[in-house]
């Protein structure tokens, strides 16, 4: 049980760390990439994915200002 908890904690720290927002942003990018790939719409990823990344960074600014 201790091993499972430690294992879970490791992955939580690895993926989430000190910012849930950035982790969610990463998941949104992944999901958006998958949806775009399924839809096979040329050029959509070139616009949407960078915008999601920049939006995630923008949303995380207040936490960055507050510090850890």
């Amino acid at each position: 049980m201790k091993f499972v908890l430690a294992f879970g904690r490791f992955w939580y720290d690895f993926i989430v760390g000190d910012s849930v927002l950035l982790a969610i942003g990463g998941l949104v990018v992944l999901a958006a990439a998958w949806v775009i790939a399924q839809g096979d719409i040329a050029g959509l990823a070139d616009v949407v994915l960078p915008l999601v990344v920049v939006a995630t960074l923008w949303v995380s600014l207040p936490k960055g200002r507050r510090g850890p």
């Binding site: 990018v29 990823a45 070139d46 960078p50």
Partner: protein
């Protein structure tokens, strides 16, 4: 783009960054006042820290080489040759420019690495999901430039809060 969510108006009580900078300045001052520890003999701490960093990066390179080779017509041997060539180039470059590199501000290096890694990360995440970039690999450069521009704009946005940064500092409560 409007203010980020949860953000105060410029100069209107944004003293958090001032306090963070103050804590940072205090810590830097404390470290500068600490006596220099003379390392006698082999520096094991430095060796272990360096080894862990190099080992981790080397492991990443191995994974990248295998992944590239597995996803292309090239053999693992050819991909490994490329990795070895990169190792030689990096080692020689490091040996030549390690002194000038120590003078580059740490934050500038971190910022540059962050922008580059984010560009590569976006590119390969999408590639992994099956996305076809219109500009192919050249999109990495476009992404890096775009992220650099956007983040520079955000840094400028944060900097135009003089009251928040220059407000008198509160004494430490510890």
């Amino acid at each position: 783009m409007g203010d980020p969510p949860g953000e105060e108006e410029p100069g209107g009580g944004g003293g958090e960054i001032g306090r963070v900078l103050a804590r940072n300045a205090e810590e830097v001052a404390e470290l500068e006042n600490e006596p220099v520890i003379e390392v006698v003999g082999f520096d094991w701490t430095g060796f272990v820290v360096s080894f862990k960093g190099v080992f981790l990066e080397g492991l990443e390179v191995a994974f990248i080489v295998i992944t590239f080779a597995a996803n292309s017509d090239a053999s693992v041997g050819l991909a490994a040759s490329g990795a070895v060539a990169a190792l030689v180039v990096v080692a020689v470059t490091g040996a030549i420019v390690h002194r000038p590199l120590t003078r580059v501000p740490e934050n500038a290096i971190k910022y540059t690495v962050g922008v580059v890694l984010t560009a590569f990360g976006t590119f390969w995440t999408a590639e992994g999901a099956g996305v076809e970039w219109q500009l192919k690999e050249a999109m990495i450069i476009v992404l890096a430039l775009g992220y650099w521009g956007a983040s520079a704009a955000m840094v400028a946005y944060l900097k135009r809060r003089p009251r928040a940064v220059k407000r008198p500092l509160e004494p430490a409560t510890t």
